[in-house]
């Protein structure tokens, strides 16, 4: 076992097992931050993850899946029949050459993806598979496929109702379709929903888009350098993010934006190589995934546990229905809002159906999850909360261990990838949070800087707090966004349908032509 994994063990143990963490009183500051944090956010987390009466199924998971299913049926399985058109839009086949230099479909998609592809795909999937077993993968893929319809709905609306200002800049997102769309339909409460949504978006930006990222990035760095207090990582990260979002140092952001896609390709490439080398186990892995999806295979929480974990992680990873993508996609240059909706449905596909599934397959095939040789079923850890792993790791460390079975040097690459993914996700979410903030408090230099400073402070808190309370709070805030956003999507979906029918009718009649010859 290499140095990374052995030293990583201590870092993981201290974040996963609170008993061990409190034994290390040298990191007392982390502990204090953590106590205050868990104490002040616990009630909200409990409300969002409340189980349906008489079950242990959180209502919020049902809410997301029902919505994605409704949109899938309502738009006639658009994620399947418009898939090819989405690809030709991204290739630029329908882009007017006179618009060269404007934001292309590809750029809007890439920008939105850089906000969603990240730790959810690496750490989140490991958490899901660790607790729910390989069967969680099946539900994750299903949720990803259904989520494509949610994404289509919200991004079409995001472009249709964006604000275009006189100076040529644009602002879009759920806040705008809530106010303008509701008004157009003659309905009240649009403004109210927009305010509630903005508050949750700020929370989500500080939670999943910030603290969770800082937290996992610290775990990765500590895994390589040895354990040290999280607030140190936090301050360094905060300083760099501050330089970019407040100082306007574009070069740092530019470097990240170029390295992140490369890292994404490298990650998928490494996963593919491992899968090709272990090709004889792929059939078995899919067997585990299908069997686990319907029987539970003795994992924590059984079948429902696998389902909840799969759905939860898919939603957290691709953010379909959450509303964040509607902000990111709304900058595209197009006269047809539907085109961006169609392009955006590739996002959950790439994020969840491709990348998350890769991670899940590698974890399953690598054998880092301990099975009972006699029965072939998974063995739970001492606490009974998750499947026992070969080195006791969870989250991003588990993914790291799984990839290390193929390439011993991979943990180092993964550590760099995690730090960069974390960074690009933070930059994206600082923008989403800022849009919500300026929606609430109005545009203005001072107001913007106040938010940006708050955002940087939360990086430090996130890096110092422990994993459990950060993940809970991140999930809760992001899901709270989905409660408000999906409510609005239900109300506005007839508008999307009208747009969709009109667009595809014109496409079929040849009124909308390809520009390439």
């Amino acid at each position: 076992m290499n140095k990374f994994l052995t030293t990583g063990l201590g870092a993981v143990a201290s974040t996963v097992f609170p008993a061990l963490a409190s034994a290390q009183d040298a990191v007392g500051m982390d502990q204090r931050i953590n106590d205050v944090f868990a104490g002040s956010t616990g009630w909200f987390v409990n409300l969002i993850f409340m189980s349906l009466p008489g079950t242990n199924f959180p209502w919020i998971v049902l809410w997301l899946v029902v919505a994605a299913s409704v949109f899938t049926l309502y738009f006639g399985f658009i994620q399947f029949w418009a898939f090819g058109h989405a690809i030709s839009l991204v290739k630029g086949d329908y882009s007017d050459p006179d618009d060269a230099g404007e934001v292309s479909h590809f750029q809007a998609l890439a920008t939105a993806l850089s906000g969603t592809v990240g730790l959810g795909n690496i750490a989140g999937v490991a958490v899901a598979v660790g607790i729910g077993g390989p069967g969680a993968t099946f539900w994750m893929i299903l949720a990803g496929l259904l989520g494509m319809a949610s994404k289509f709905t919200e991004c079409t609306l995001g472009v249709k109702y964006r604000n275009e200002y006189d100076d040529g800049t644009v602002s879009g997102g759920p806040m705008y379709y809530m106010t303008k769309g509701f008004k157009e339909r003659g309905l009240p409460l649009g403004g109210f929903l927009a305010i509630v949504f903005s508050i949750f978006t700020i929370g989500g930006a500080l939670g999943g888009g910030n603290m969770f990222q800082a937290n996992q990035a610290h775990a990765q760095i500590a895994g390589i350098l040895g354990d040290y207090p999280g607030w140190i990582t936090g301050i360094i990260f905060a300083a760099v993010v501050f330089a970019v979002i407040v100082g306007g140092i574009k070069s740092i952001a530019n470097v990240t934006e170029k390295v992140v896609p490369f890292m994404g390709v490298l990650y998928v490439g490494a996963a593919l190589v491992i899968l090709i080398v272990e090709y004889d186990k792929i059939g078995w892995a899919f067997g585990q995934i299908f069997a686990g999806a319907f029987t539970g295979l003795g994992v924590a929480g059984g079948l429902v546990g696998a389902l909840i974990q799969g759905f939860k992680r898919a939603a957290f990873s691709n953010e379909a229905g959450v509303g964040s993508a509607a902000i990111a996609h709304s900058a595209v240059r197009t006269k047809e809002p539907v085109t961006e909706g169609v392009v955006s449905l590739l996002e959950p596909f790439i994020d969840t159906v491709v990348i998350c599934t890769m991670t899940a397959l590698v974890i399953t095939i690598s054998g880092v999850l301990v099975t009972d040789p006699a029965t072939g079923r998974f063995i739970l850890n001492e606490a009974g909360t998750a499947i026992k792993t070969v080195d006791g790791s969870s989250g991003v460390q588990l993914t790291s261990a799984a990839f290390a079975t193929g390439f011993s040097w991979f943990p180092y690459i993964l550590a760099i990838a995690v730090v960069l993914f974390a960074f690009s996700t933070m930059i994206s979410w600082s923008y989403y949070g800022l849009k919500a903030w300026t929606y609430l408090f109005g545009e203005g230099k001072t107001k913007e800087i106040v938010f940006k400073v708050i955002f940087c402070l939360f990086i430090i808190i996130g890096a110092a707090a422990n994993l459990g309370s950060v993940i809970d709070f991140s999930d809760a805030m992001i899901f709270a966004m989905a409660v408000v956003n999906i409510t609005a999507l239900y109300v506005l979906m007839p508008i999307v349908k009208r747009e969709m029918k009109s667009y595809f009718a014109r496409l079929k009649s040849g009124e909308l032509k390809k520009f390439i010859d």
Partner: protein
Amino acid sequence: MTTSTIVVGLDGGEAGARALAFATTQAKLIGSCELKLVYVIEWSPFSFQTSEENAQRHKRREEELALARERIVEPAVKQVTDDGVTVQGIVRHGDVADILDDLAKKHGAQQIVVGRVGLRGLKERMFGGVTGRLVVASSVPVTIIP
């Protein structure tokens, strides 16, 4: 009505100026010839940007176009007009070689004139240079001014 068209690539520097001087002389010799002075702002629809850059893209594009017209194309157009040659200035975003060739086809030009930039070493080997790619892909004759 002019009978001949030459597309000239400007780069805001020495090489473009040499191309312009040569093309102007050619146009005078031909007599009935229009010059299309093209400045291309390097841009790829497949590059990666942050959300904030995307939100401001339209504004930035307008600024880039205005700047290129004012600083590079308009002075060149004026210079050629003063020489008594028919001329049109064009500013576009995209890949230089692609745009020059597209415009040559669109306007039915007889040739493209560009200046040699003179990249050397690794950079030239890796990227091939604009002139190199133009020569390989062009659908009309290309004149390169050293």
